[in-house]
């Protein structure tokens, strides 16, 4: 591994690749990308020791926009790929990024099990309550009455509450951020990376193309009035009753991360033969 101390400090700029994002002008994801690179500079993780893993969707394009190692897999399975990577290579810093459709719909099962497994990952969901890449269909976090071509008049289905689901499933760190506050978001992501176990950061990141109404989020977002708690019951109550725009770290728990087994061989491959021998 590279010795961090032997190097010059890494700046946020060092984590930015030269590739131009495909995002629409005004997309919240630009600022989330910037927050991620700032957060990485805060924790001083060498780019080669960081892997950004994603699935499919607008926000899932993020890995190639960094100078870190990237993994742009299939829709909904980013957490699974990241879990395998982190368990096999525990010394790497693994960030997982994606959207609400990727994480809460097609990848919903992996979200639950990533929370309860508590592998030391940082999961950043850029939630805009819409499928942007396929041009404007309702996602699990979309309001039930939001009108669209695919669901005229709205889905009529209550929206998914990712924070409380994460908490109930065992995530060790739960936070809400807002892309309109890139420095605050960077601070939260840096805390998430430092926190052991599975850290979940839900970033409200507007899609002004398909949800122009989300321009109002700027007015609605506000810092959480109280400090994070390590008591899941208190955190749950707070999350269930807040207005959905409480920004900050809402829960920071003490659960032990998923144990990384093995590593050191106790016997040789040839030793395994003994049990078959007659």
């Amino acid at each position: 591994m590279t010795e961090v101390a032997a190097r010059a400090p890494v700046t946020a700029q060092n984590y930015k690749s030269g590739y131009k994002p495909i995002w629409c002008p005004g997309c919240g994801d630009y600022s989330v990308l910037s927050s991620i690179t700032k957060a990485l500079a805060m924790v001083q993780a060498p780019p080669e020791d960081v892997v950004v893993v994603s699935g499919i969707g607008c926000s899932s394009r993020i890995p190639a926009y960094t100078t870190c190692y990237g993994f742009h897999g299939v829709h909904g399975r980013a957490l699974a790929a990241a879990t395998g990577l982190k368990v096999a290579r525990p010394e790497l810093t693994v960030l997982v990024a994606g959207g609400d459709g990727d994480g809460y719909s097609i990848g919903g099962n992996h979200f639950l099990h990533a929370c309860r497994r508590n592998v030391d990952l940082t999961y950043i969901v850029m939630d805009n309550h819409v499928y942007g890449m396929t041009k404007g269909q309702p996602s699990p976090t979309t309001e039930p009455d939001w009108d669209s071509k695919l669901s005229p008049g709205g889905t009529g289905v209550r929206s998914f509450h990712p924070l409380v689901i994460a908490l109930a499933s065992g995530a060790n760190f739960v936070a809400r951020a807002f892309s309109g506050d890139p420095n605050g978001t960077a601070e939260i992501i840096a805390q998430a990376i430092r926190h052991p176990g599975f850290s979940f950061v839900e970033v409200l990141s507007p899609c002004i193309t398909f949800r122009p109404d989300q321009r109002d989020w700027k007015k609605l977002a506000h810092p959480a009035p109280v400090d994070p708690t390590d008591d899941p019951a208190r955190a749950a109550r707070r999350i269930m009753t807040d207005d959905g725009f409480n920004i900050g770290v809402l829960y920071a728990g003490n659960r032990k991360p998923y144990p990384v087994l093995g590593r050191k061989a106790k016997s040789t491959v040839a030793d395994l033969e003994a049990e078959f021998m007659q």
Binding site: V51, A80, A81, K86, R89, E273, F276, Q278
Partner: protein, 584 residues
């Protein structure tokens, strides 16, 4: 590549063997009795095979251990059973087709458990009612299946000492339980004295070489570890679970990890993630799991991440027949991905070969940065056999990686071989993004025609140009006609080829180990001087036959013999098929 592989012994003549079916309701202990019988046979210097079969219930359904013992290695089942020993008759009639009896066979059952089913009595086998349960009850702390073990062992000609030694290995902790069950085994041995007409095997003390008692699932797991696999993620599924249960502690021993995933979508992506991180990785599943994994396997093709997927095939489609065998995932394995997606498909040709073939799959996947699917099946996976210690093979997973700060590094560089050295996370100056989107040589998403064609050609070329050596198939015997098969049916075909030879019909046997990519030149060489081929396989739609006809130029008018599972292909029906085909 020229790994050291022992040539197959010349055509195995059918050895004198005795076949014993131990049947009863699930939980009656027939599998334990069968396993101990096999272990005792090994101690007596014999070879043997135990095939497991059970009804759809997990507990309480019907179960049978189908054991064949002999003085030479046993790879497949015989045409009929010499002994059917039923601990009880609950639903055992459902095994009528799986346990064929002859007039010379012996049937043993407990009269207190009711009459022997008509389907068995109709075979004309002699029936010996014995009070198994009462006998066991008379020995405090003993079990009925141990009485059955004593009976079966004695009928096969295995010494009581060998049976006792097998028991001692099992009950190491409780002297009391051991003593009770030794007494039960003894009672069984005594009872066997009243039964005649079973061909007993010689117990001439053989200078047994180093022998193994192993299942195909264990052999595949061990082959994977020998090849270098250190990460496994998987979801439990019959009949692959034992492979995972064997690997979990074994991986810990050698510094690896097994992770139980939430589903097969997770397990395939987890192993892709781990392998992207540089650690050779594997998952094991069966048909329904493979179906869920196809999107992930496609990602491994596109992102060029080496992985090994062991498919322990069972009856399909859909949930199918979970605990019984069939070779019906072949078409799916060779062609079941979206897009043009070159992949490796291999099939072990015996229980022992599950080791070498899986080990080879790791080597190929790592060398070629591609997914390798290993088609085992329930017959090989869940069967246990006494085998000669397999010759060591030199296959080892070794992928081309790239050094730190290599100038102008491109992850998907269009090299001559098609293999592009891989950057491993943690290595400075060469970071890239692996992608399931079509990409440029640098790995940047691209929907341009020239990038697509370049990468399609590259991914095809690296598999097509590789020299797979002579391990691609087992080729045995001579003759101007050839029988082509794959997987677990190889054993029965080999036995049938030997029997046909005794009837004056000589044919070559070609058991294909590397199914994809197809090896037309290799097969053409193997078929030199052959005018006719017969393709034998265990599925309903002649999948191998159709695959071969689409990928190869076969001489003459290719013929097909195919039948679905779960009944094993029997040497007799195959002998008839081969002789009939050659003399028609």
């Amino acid at each position: 590549m020229d790994a050291k592989v022992s040539r197959k012994a010349p055509l195995q003549r059918t050895a004198a063997s005795v076949s014993i079916a131990l049947a009863g309701s699930g939980g009656s202990g027939v599998m334990t009795a069968g396993t101990l019988l096999l272990s005792a046979a090994a101690k007596a210097g014999l070879y043997g095979l135990m095939v497991r079969t059970s009804g759809p219930q997990i507990r309480g359904g019907e179960a049978a251990a189908l054991v064949r013992l002999g003085e030479a290695p046993m790879h497949g089942l015989d045409d009929r059973f010499d002994v059917l020993l039923a601990i009880d008759w609950q639903n055992v009639n459902r095994f009528a087709d799986e346990i064929p009896l002859a007039a010379s066979s012996v049937m043993i059952g407990d009269p207190d458990e009711g009459e022997a089913p008509e389907v068995f009595r109709n075979a004309g086998a002699r029936y010996f009612p014995l009070p198994l349960k009462k006998t066991a009850k008379g020995i405090a702390g003993s079990w009925t299946n141990m009485v059955a073990l004593g009976l079966a062992g004695a009928l096969a000609g295995i010494s009581e000492e060998a049976l006792a030694a097998a028991l001692r290995d099992t009950w190491k902790r409780s002297e009391e339980a051991l003593a009770a069950n030794l007494a039960a085994v003894h009672a069984g041995v005594v009872a066997a004295a009243g039964i005649d007409g079973v061909p007993r095997l010689g117990t001439s003390a053989k200078t047994a070489g180093r022998r193994w008692l192993i299942s195909g699932n264990e052999a595949a797991g061990y082959g994977a570890i020998r090849g270098g696999v250190r990460f496994v993620a998987a979801y439990p599924i019959t009949p692959a679970t034992e492979l995972l249960e064997w690997m979990a502690p074994a991986l810990t021993q050698v510094g690896g990890t097994l992770l139980q995933a939430e589903d097969e979508l997770a397990s395939i992506n987890m192993i892709i993630g781990a392998s992207y991180g540089g650690v050779p990785s594997l998952t094991a599943t069966a048909g329904p799991g493979l179906a869920l994994m196809t999107e992930g396997i496609g990602l491994a093709v596109s992102a060029e991440v080496p992985i090994v997927v062991v498919d322990v095939m069972r009856g399909g489609p859909s949930t199918g027949i979970p605990a019984k065998t069939e070779q019906s995932d072949l078409s799916f394995a060779v062609s079941g991905l979206s897009g043009d997606a070159p992949r490796l498909v291999l099939a072990p040709t015996s229980i022992a070969d599950c080791l070498a073939t899986t080990q080879w799959a790791v080597e190929l996947a790592e060398a070629l940065q591609a997914p390798a699917i290993v088609l085992s099946d329930q017959f090989m996976g869940q069967s246990r056999a006494i085998i000669d210690r397999p010759a060591d093979v030199a296959f080892i997973g070794k992928r081309q990686t790239v050094a730190a700060n290599t100038p102008d590094y491109k992850r998907y560089r269009n090299t001559e071989s098609g293999i592009s050295p891989m950057a491993i996370p943690g290595t400075p100056g060469i970071a890239y993004t692996a992608d399931g989107l079509e990409h440029t040589e640098a790995g940047i998403p691209s929907s341009q025609s020239r990038d697509h064609v370049t990468q399609l050609d590259k991914r095809h070329r690296k598999l097509a140009q590789h020299d797979y050596g002579r391990f691609w198939a087992d080729i045995e015997g001579d003759g101007d006609a050839a029988v082509i098969t794959f997987g677990s049916t190889t054993a029965a075909v080999r036995e049938a080829v030997a029997r046909a030879a005794r009837e004056g019909v000589t044919v070559r046997l070609i058991a294909i180990r590397l199914l994809a990519p197809a090896q037309p030149e290799q097969l053409a060489a193997a078929l030199e001087g052959v005018g006719q081929v017969l393709v034998i396989e265990q599925n309903h739609s002649a999948q191998l036959y159709r695959y071969l006809r689409s990928m190869y130029d076969l001489p003459g008018k290719p013929a097909s013999f195919h039948r679905p599972g779960p009944l094993p292909l029997r040497p007799r029906e195959l002998t008839e098929a081969i002789v009939g085909w050659r003399t028609a």
